[in-house]
Symmetry: C2
Subunit: 509 residues, 2 copies
């Protein structure tokens, strides 16, 4: 059976596009830069939402909903914030259409006095509510989360990775002290790290962004960075300590128990549908997508081999009973999600649809399986033996009592392990000068490059800009300074000054 | 204890606003017409979403996500649709801000070639996707749902009932035949009816809207109508049979098994955060909100009576153990949702916060309860005996093994029964002439009026317009023609012609 895609021989960007299409995850829309998320892709998002929402609530946060339109004056209030976002926002200027000269157009009489910005993020509008909600230290900490759509105009959109409109969650919290706000920032970074590794089977490195990569208006920005199969980094989630910047701009103040009125320290943190792009680029292979069972909308898909013959009824009945029995098994903390695919297309076509979509276990039941009480299946994590597709057979009882749960857990683990080996093997250390950097990243753009972990003196301001310019010339950026740091450091690769921190350098999405 | 509100002596609109505020459900925002949904209000929406999503999926639909921006040309394609919506849409005209003369404003160089409309509903953009997704009869039926925010510019906004931005679900389906599409329309109407009655404890009348109240572009529109405590009707959900109108405008065609290419028949159906307004106006009382246990974010709230004394620790420990034990009980198909309120405010204040928010059971535990192994609680559905608050006491064992589950189920039922009596008692029949209509609806706007059920000849076009004008003069509308119809009819109240249908007439939100 020929492979649909070849991850090594195709340009990675083309491979990605083909997987998104073949796995039926999403498609471009007539609105430039905005995507349509199809049922299988949205199903993955629902799994992500459900589990992440549980973890966000377990850490004491409550969900709210704030307006998606933000008055222009709110955005203008926070100078650094404007600077960072002003270039890419959708702006609503009218509230009515009218037919003029036979053509439907914005009604000039319905021009808004103050234009509204479609939220690129909600610090300003949520901060405005916080300024009303917080009065006393008893109201703190205020721990809020929102699931929403946001818009950042994209000139070079890519499905899931960079779209004008995307879905995300954004946490926003207010605290009495900077220490508490920093602790919150780190706690949510850890929620993202563990969620990404446990659920998406996507190993990441958590760390602090350099000053020049901070969120507009933040005191400190932390990220989790994942390595894609082309070696590039994907920033998969961020957590920001905002200090009192937004609180001062928006008047988020509280009276402490001594009666003093002080500004709050705030945080914000978010992950988005970009995670789905990360899952695809982490786990996809030559045959399409492979989904970790924890986030697969369907973990086991049963394909009945029907031939328009009388024995079809037996096959279907056997499949239905198998599906029902599987649904009552628990794996990874929830009932197994099973689908019996009864669509009226050929069973070989169905099989390949589910291979491309990455269903973790694909069961194929023919008349002989039904008659003999057997189950024939494929594992999507190790689909082939050489070029041949590997089919595994066992009894129905064995599949139900042992194999199904065990293999789903194994697949979750094996996908993580595979990605973890790749990440660990491709962070090069020991490069101490710029020539070494140039050497590591030389060659064509399509060639696999990993990341470098180098020592630096953590320059700031103009000195940092020089470093940034140097890196950008090689299309490189500093990804983050990992939380885990050694005890001593080599001299700074850029300045030769004593090193104070290790940072990761790489190409990125 | 004085009641916070008096539903009979206050203007109903003021009472509603006070309940929304005191129950901490939502508040107005700096964006005209858009609301902030606060944690308790959003918690109700989450319960609604979770259960309705389950029912929508159980009837075979899959969730997707489509762009919220719709090209103006898409809206212009469907003439009737434009007519219906053109007056109230938010229009994006620019994609960048720029500081000009020291003032942040839309960048004139970033004007969009084609303006984008923020979706008021998604028939056009989803129809465009359907035209790509449907090729053959094998692709049908196509059954899609979306949870999203939509915008319809509102000049007279009211929290939950009528807001510029609101949250909803919109189902969109395509079928091979009109019969199948009509069956789908009716199936989803029934999902809404049963959900509203079983879950929201809100009795409704399901029926067909008259021609002049149809969704723009629909062949037939069905609704569920609920009666609020001021007698007004709330349209709580709609289901539309769209025929081939949208399919023709957007090219949604399929090849049948004989090879003929035909237009699909489509449907759409939706409910929104407006349901929350309906719940408030159905179940609220003089003390604030009363929530049906099925949708209460917390069904049992435990308030520890702490006095800054050594025995506080025992009270807290007793409450924690009680909360844990309650969480393992199942009621209405899910584990009981319990909250132990440890906020640092006075316990009397806490009690009234939860009364106003409508938590179904409020437990108060003092040192004597803890020492004696007892539970003292209030039922929110029958809070008072005359003017006094009714406290009920029983042993911990009794509460856990019997009372908690039994009373939650009783409250769900009693709230429904109370509203059902009100609905049934206030639909007046037997009025056969216009004078009778005038008589029934005479008097001040603030007075309670129910609905009339009258017979009519189902006039159409100009004749229907005359009826509509006559009704509007009394601020009345036809709510719907109930699905349940008698075998014979009185003559038409409006035309004197033979009656063919009974319709409901009333004032509405």
């Amino acid at each position: 059976m020929q492979r649909a895609l070849d991850i090594n021989r195709t340009r990675f960007a083309d491979w990605y596009q083909a997987v998104v299409r073949d796995a039926d995850m999403a498609e471009t829309s007539p609105v430039r830069g905005a995507m349509v998320i199809k049922p299988w892709g949205y199903g993955v998002w629902e799994q992500i939402q459900q589990e992440l929402d549980r973890r966000i609530k377990a850490t004491g946060h409550e969900n709210c909903y704030f307006p998606m339109f933000i008055p222009l004056s709110f955005i203008a209030k926070e100078a650094q914030h404007v600077e960072g976002f002003a270039k890419e926002m959708a702006i609503v200027t009218h509230h009515r259409l009218k037919t003029i000269d036979g053509k439907l157009q914005p009604d000039p009489d319905a021009r808004l006095e103050e234009p509204l910005v479609v939220r690129p993020t909600s610090e300003t509008i949520i901060g405005d509510a916080f300024s009303r909600w917080v009065r006393s230290y008893r109201d703190l900490p205020l721990l809020i989360n929102q699931w929403a759509n946001v818009v950042r105009w994209e000139m070079r959109p890519r499905l899931f990775l960079r779209t004008t409109e995307f879905l995300w969650q954004e946490g926003h919290t207010a605290h009495a002290t900077a220490e508490e706000a920093v602790a919150e920032t780190m706690k949510m970074l850890e929620v993202y790290r563990s969620f990404s590794e446990d659920y998406l089977a996507m190993p990441v490195i958590a760390g602090e962004k350099p000053e020049n990569e901070r969120f507009p208006g933040a005191e400190a920005t932390y990220s989790i960075e994942a390595m894609m199969q082309d070696g590039k980094a994907l920033q998969a989630g961020t957590s920001h300590f905002l200090g009192t910047h937004f609180a001062e701009a928006q008047g988020i103040k509280f009276q402490d128990d001594a009666g003093t009125i002080t500004f709050c320290n705030t945080t914000s943190w978010g992950v988005s549908t970009r995670l789905i792009g990360g899952v695809i680029m982490t786990h996809g292979d030559d045959d399409g997508l492979r989904l970790p069972p924890a986030i697969a909308p369907k973990q086991i898909v049963i394909v009945p081999m029907l031939r328009d013959k009388p024995e079809d009824a037996d096959v279907l009945a056997y499949c239905e009973s198998l599906a029902a029995a599987l649904s009552s098994i628990h794996v990874l903390g929830a009932p197994v999600r099973v689908l019996l695919d009864t669509k009226k297309i050929k069973s070989a076509e169905k099989r390949w649809n589910w291979v491309r979509r990455g269903a973790p276990i694909i069961v194929e039941i023919g008349p002989r399986d039904a008659a003999g009480g057997n189950v024939t299946f494929m594992r999507r994590d190790s689909l082939r033996d050489g070029d041949k597709v590997k089919s595994i057979a066992c009894t129905r009882a064995e599949f139900l009592e042992e194999k199904a749960a065990q293999i789903l857990a194994e697949i979750q683990h094996s996908l993580y392990a595979e990605a973890k080996v790749r990440l660990d093997a491709n962070i090069k250390t020991g490069v101490t000068d710029w020539a070494g950097v140039e050497d590591y990243f030389k060659g064509s753009d399509d060639e696999f490059k990993g990341w470098l972990k180098v020592s630096w003196s953590k320059p700031s301001g103009a000195e940092l800009e020089k470093v940034d310019t140097k890196l950008k010339a090689l299309k490189l950026t500093i990804r983050n300074a990992p939380l885990q740091q050694p005890d001593s450091f080599a001299p700074c690769l850029f300045t030769g000054a004593p090193g104070v921190q290790e940072i990761l350098i790489g190409r990125a999405y």
